[in-house]
Symmetry: C2
Subunit: 101 residues, 2 copies
């Protein structure tokens, strides 16, 4: 499995309406045919610890069969549209692609 983890920091001036649009955009990504399971949301209410990062706005976790499926997703219309619609809101993005057993 290839676990595609994306963490988004939205620009501070992003409005509530724009955030709602962005959430809808995240939801649209889960419909990609290569996505076996997907999750997204803001930082959770776990116990504060020095190692726990809480400054990001949203995380997205998509499970693909393999790196080839993730590569197809990068070029899929739903992902291209997501970037067109929402990239201007991004202050910072960090991606961790984990090769699971």
């Amino acid at each position: 499995m290839l676990i595609h983890n994306v963490f988004f920091w939205l620009k501070p001036e992003t409005t509530a309406g724009e955030i709602a649009d962005f959430e809808a955009g995240l939801a649209s990504l889960l419909a990609d045919s290569g996505v076996r399971a997907g999750y997204y949301g803001p930082p959770g209410a776990t116990a504060p610890r020095p190692v726990v990062e809480t400054t990001y706005s949203y995380g997205l976790v998509l499970i693909f069969d393999d790196a080839a499926a993730e590569a197809r997703y990068q070029d899929a219309p739903v992902h291209v549209k997501f970037l067109q619609d929402h990239k201007p809101k991004f202050e910072k993005v960090v991606v961790y692609d984990v090769q699971g057993a």
Copy 2:
């Protein structure tokens, strides 16, 4: 769902044998009764992009029902043993706990 994402940077002097032990430790965590699904592994072979972080050694993604289940896992014997056995190998750890819909 609470998606518990952990990224580990192991110390450069960690030996192959110690890495194998660490991998077995990661595998042991998936047996926690609160874990609904779990994945772990090294950085995958996705296309290099400026946003893709590839300097970490291993990622671990555990799916829990909620933050309370993740809190129980923190104190579970399997997790306490994992930290006892492997924390000395850690150079850096970053955790992202995502509150999924």
